[in-house]
Amino acid sequence: MHLDVLIFGSAAIAAKADRVRVRVGESPTLADVARAMAEQHPSLAFALQSPRFAVNQAFASLSTPITPSDEVALVTLVGGG
């Protein structure tokens, strides 16, 4: 499946976009999404070393299963608020 992941701050600057599309297998977890992002968008590797995600506007652990209708955001706070 394909998934759009929202990105912010220095990740958005690095990718020159406010979201990136990733290709993942069926029934992925957030860990799969993170791995796919790092492979398919190497400019985001710096923000994926210890990534933090939100799913549907709430923090979620890497074991969280993802469906195509979920809102997924990479919220690693590189540099802080």
Binding site: F8, S10, A12, I13, A54, Q57, V75, G79, G80, G81
Partner: protein, 156 residues
């Protein structure tokens, strides 16, 4: 004794200048004034975060002092509505954990120029110790758990 505390948390557009602050806090102005004359408050603490002109430029090699470059502003981006929910949840959690009488916080979204305020946190408590430790805990956790990012707008 009344165990409730007065909590207010809001992300607003632009700098937290006095008029923006008064507008944001108008709904609790009366409750604030009641609290201040109640005789229950022994300490109030107010923190203002202000945009500084000089920032080290990012990307310097480790171990080297990064060159200083001048800002004209910071651009704050917040992931809404999660950022607002996290800020409010943090405010309630800190107030409960430290037994505060009041906590109000305002954070900017969008552009805030050098010298302008981007963040205000005000705490009222019975004694000074809990106000100071609550303030440090709030700011640390905000930087960790409230999805707001800042991007420099360079002067040159």
């Amino acid at each position: 004794m009344d165990r409730s505390s007065m909590i207010f948390a809001m992300i607003l557009d632009g700098p937290v200048d006095p008029s923006a602050e008064a507008r944001a806090l108008s709904s609790i102005a009366l409750a604030q004034s009641d609290l201040n004359t109640s005789g229950r408050v022994g300490a109030t603490l107010r923190f203002e975060g202000i945009v500084r002109r000089d920032e080290p430029t990012p990307g310097a090699p480790a171990g080297e002092t990064p060159p200083i470059r001048s800002l004209s502003a910071l651009q704050y981006q917040s992931y809404d509505p999660m950022a607002q929910a996290q800020l409010a949840s943090l405010a309630h959690g800190i107030a409960r954990e430290f037994g505060l009488l009041a906590l109000t916080t305002l954070h900017s979204r969008g552009r805030v120029r050098v010298g302008e305020i981007s963040f205000v946190l005000t705490i009222s408590s019975a004694h000074r110790a809990e106000a100071l430790t609550a303030m440090m805990a709030f700011i640390d956790r905000m930087k960790r758990d409230v999805p707001i990012w800042k991007t420099p707008v360079w002067a040159d």
